[in-house]
Symmetry: C2
Subunit: 463 residues, 2 copies
């Protein structure tokens, strides 16, 4: 073997400075909006739009086939960032969550992490600017929209009057400073926001790697939420309609982030998560695909609450895994905490997430989660336990219940929730009721934060 070859080999296996043993891992959490299972290559994409970058995360790590979320945008993001069912934090679209909640960004801060959000917030309510910005919840900087992508439609709506109506903006803010308007959020800037956010993500990561500071990048991608209008680079390019174009856009942006990790030499010690917030939109013209599942977001059918999620962390998670173990977005907070190697999950309140890191690492075959509750509003609508799902108020379409309300399905023999087998499984109702009762008992002990609670919130003294 000649010396040059040896040098090359050494170079290839050298540990980059930023990934030295003992260095806490970086966390990159990408979280697109209303993006259904059927759109992703690794899950058998229906539109024939390749998603090689997203798929590469699965190939280099794990594809979760039973990843569960709350059923719509704000509650899903609340659950994700707090590790608590949204009903506990009282999360609502109009009000968001209180500052009493501890987000992943807040928890990582004492460990020296830099945290940033680029994309969509939607946890601050309509008065977000008065103390409920991402900065107020632990991020060091953010750029994006405070609420939802719908608002891109405002300035072009027939009755829009800038004198009497608020013009939506893309905002930016750094810790210690005020939120300022970056540009108007309209049908044009809606197309480019995700790309901007990806490039800002790269800039953020570059700065942290240079400063040798571990980082938490939260990239809540605004696609494919309506209006599903992709970046001009992709609009009309895939031949697969607006959603197809948007998928090409999403995947391209994921590629920008992934290649930056490679270029910065931090690929190996960065945990990358790409998971979606809830099932697809069902309304036309931007009707997405739930893949093999039934239903859409805003329902607790599998199509609403089972979404694609792929995770890699080359230093710790073996490649090429696929699993049907139940995992919930609630679990990501404790799992990220475990990845960071610190006991940073709050102890003074119920945390519904479990640490699934040993499972991701292949040290355990079980995820550690056997069940999940699904809420709409303040009601438990359904509960999943192992392969079974019990609906308390069967609602195949949003807002329309269908008798009989209580139904039991075995999701593996009946993945589309079609054949109610409650009556031939009389054991079920007791088991599922117990899971609900256990949850209610914890609420008795730790009352939920009421919806629309202003700051500062102080929990009631416990007896």
């Amino acid at each position: 073997m000649n010396p040059r070859r040896i040098l090359l080999l050494l170079a290839a296996t050298a540990v980059p400075l930023a990934a030295q043993p003992g260095q806490r891992p970086n966390i990159v959490l990408m979280f697109p909006d209303n993006l259904g299972w059927g759109e992703v290559g690794a899950y058998g994409a229906v539109r024939g739009v390749p998603t090689p970058n997203i798929d590469s995360i699965a190939a280099q790590g794990i594809r979760l086939d039973n990843f569960n979320v709350e059923f719509s945008c704000t509650v899903s993001r609340a659950a994700l960032l707090t590790g608590r069912y949204a009903i506990r934090s009282g999360a609502t679209q109009p009000a968001g969550i209180t500052l009493w909640e501890v987000t992943i960004a807040e928890a990582l801060k004492p460990l020296g992490y830099a945290s940033a959000l680029f994309g969509k917030w939607h946890l601050g309510g309509s008065n977000w600017i008065k103390g409920r910005t991402p900065i107020d919840q632990g991020f060091d900087e953010w750029y994006g929209i405070p609420n939802t992508s719908n608002e891109a439609q405002t300035t072009t709506s027939p009755n829009f009057n800038p004198a009497t109506m608020e013009t939506p903006h893309i905002w930016e803010q750094k810790v210690g400073g005020p939120a300022t308007k970056a540009k108007i959020f309209d049908l044009e800037s809606r197309r480019t926001l995700d790309r901007e956010a990806a490039l800002k993500s790269v800039d953020f990561m570059e700065r942290q790697v240079r400063a040798r500071r571990p980082f938490f990048l939260f990239y809540p991608i605004t696609q494919v939420h309506f209006p599903t209008l992709a970046h001009p680079d992709f609009a009309g390019k895939t031949g697969a309609g607006d959603i197809g174009d948007a998928m090409a856009d999403v995947d391209h942006n994921v590629g920008i982030v992934l290649s930056a990790l490679r270029r910065l030499g931090v690929e190996r010690n960065t945990m990358v998560l790409w998971c979606t917030d809830n099932g697809p939109e069902g309304r036309r013209p931007w009707r997405g695909s739930s893949g093999p599942w039934r239903g859409f977001y805003n329902s607790v059918m599998e199509g609403g609450i089972r979404t694609p999620c792929v995770i890699r962390w080359p230093a710790r998670i073996p490649r090429g895994q696929v699993s049907n173990e139940i995992v919930h977005e609630l679990d990501l907070f404790p799992t990220i905490a475990a990845a960071a190697g610190a006991d940073i999950v709050p102890k003074d309140r119920p945390i519904d997430g479990v640490n699934i890191l040993p499972f991701l690492e292949g040290k355990r075959t079980e995820s550690g989660r056997e069940h999940a509750l699904y809420f709409t509003g303040t009601q438990v609508r359904a509960v999943k336990w192992k392969d079974w799902k019990f609906h308390y108020a069967f609602m195949p379409e949003p807002r329309v219940t269908e008798p009989p309300l209580m139904r039991l399905f075995n999701l593996r023999s009946d993945p589309r929730e079609e054949s109610d087998i409650k009556d031939i499984n009389p054991w079920a109702i007791g088991l599922f009721d117990k899971l609900v009762t256990d949850f209610k008992a914890s609420v008795e002990r730790f009352p939920n934060v009421p919806a629309n609670t202003p700051d500062p919130y102080t929990p009631p003294r416990r007896p």
Copy 2:
């Protein structure tokens, strides 16, 4: 580099005898029954039953996401083995196809291929034993059921009387000899037939490799057709119901075949195809999953005619490909012919298949097929052209049409065939009518073999 290491390297790269340059490739065609898109890991399996062996074919070659078939069992097998739409060969369940048809096995014979079928035939009609066995269509040996898996239910049906009713059997036959009964085909032997067929496949391949003879192994797996009762090794084992158990069974048997190829040293120069004959069963209790598509077999909805298909050939087909190009089972005959490197596709009749080998090899980005016709009975029910599909008699469920009969869908923006956009695409009907007219013109020139035609068939003299 020490000598031992060099030797090891040489051993690892040595070309096995059976794969010498110039040796024609072996062909292994596995073809399960009524197995839906949603059941396969590589396509995002719904039941959480891993299918690592099937998935490995995709990973080592190509996953086709737009593989098209005829809508039910006999017509699909006729199209597969002849490269001709089944309506041309007059294929029916009661009668099968005439001996005038040229099958893949017959075409490969002059090249020195040994051919065998282990599993299900279903191209000989109810009088198959009188001159329409697999041997009569070019196979050198076969073992399995002459018709369909339903018949496993016969001996246990309430009114079964062996004195007056025929007892179904598993049969075996070698070229030059008569078909003989191997065992009764009932609910027990139904469970083990696929395993037996896999082991016989291995034995067949061993014999050919020993004889240095290229082989065509056709393994028409009988699962997951009803009665979906898996091998005792898997029955009740997956927790995912009968179909889940059967999938574990199928994948295990695929593994038996694949590991034999490896062990025999012919992995590199063997083209392996694993594709399914039509969409899943819709009837309960053995209702399968069409994945993201709508409909079931016996309909020309995508759920009926778009099925999983994975292909590998390490010597020629690059690994890790995924494609949405239209491919049809019709194309496998010309493609296998091209793989064998010989001009063996019949010239005296219309062949509807196109050679997609250059596409599989990555030499072309297009498959070479832009459209496909879908028949039920003698009618063209629908036509796919590029991303579009035109239904002439929209029938979302088998046998039930729904007005308006003529509907147009864009499959990429509307993968579930829900939003008819015929009226806003007035160009479409002319284009689709032309495709149908072209087909009819070829039928004028080369009349279809009438259904139920006895042997010998002689085509009418052409004017």
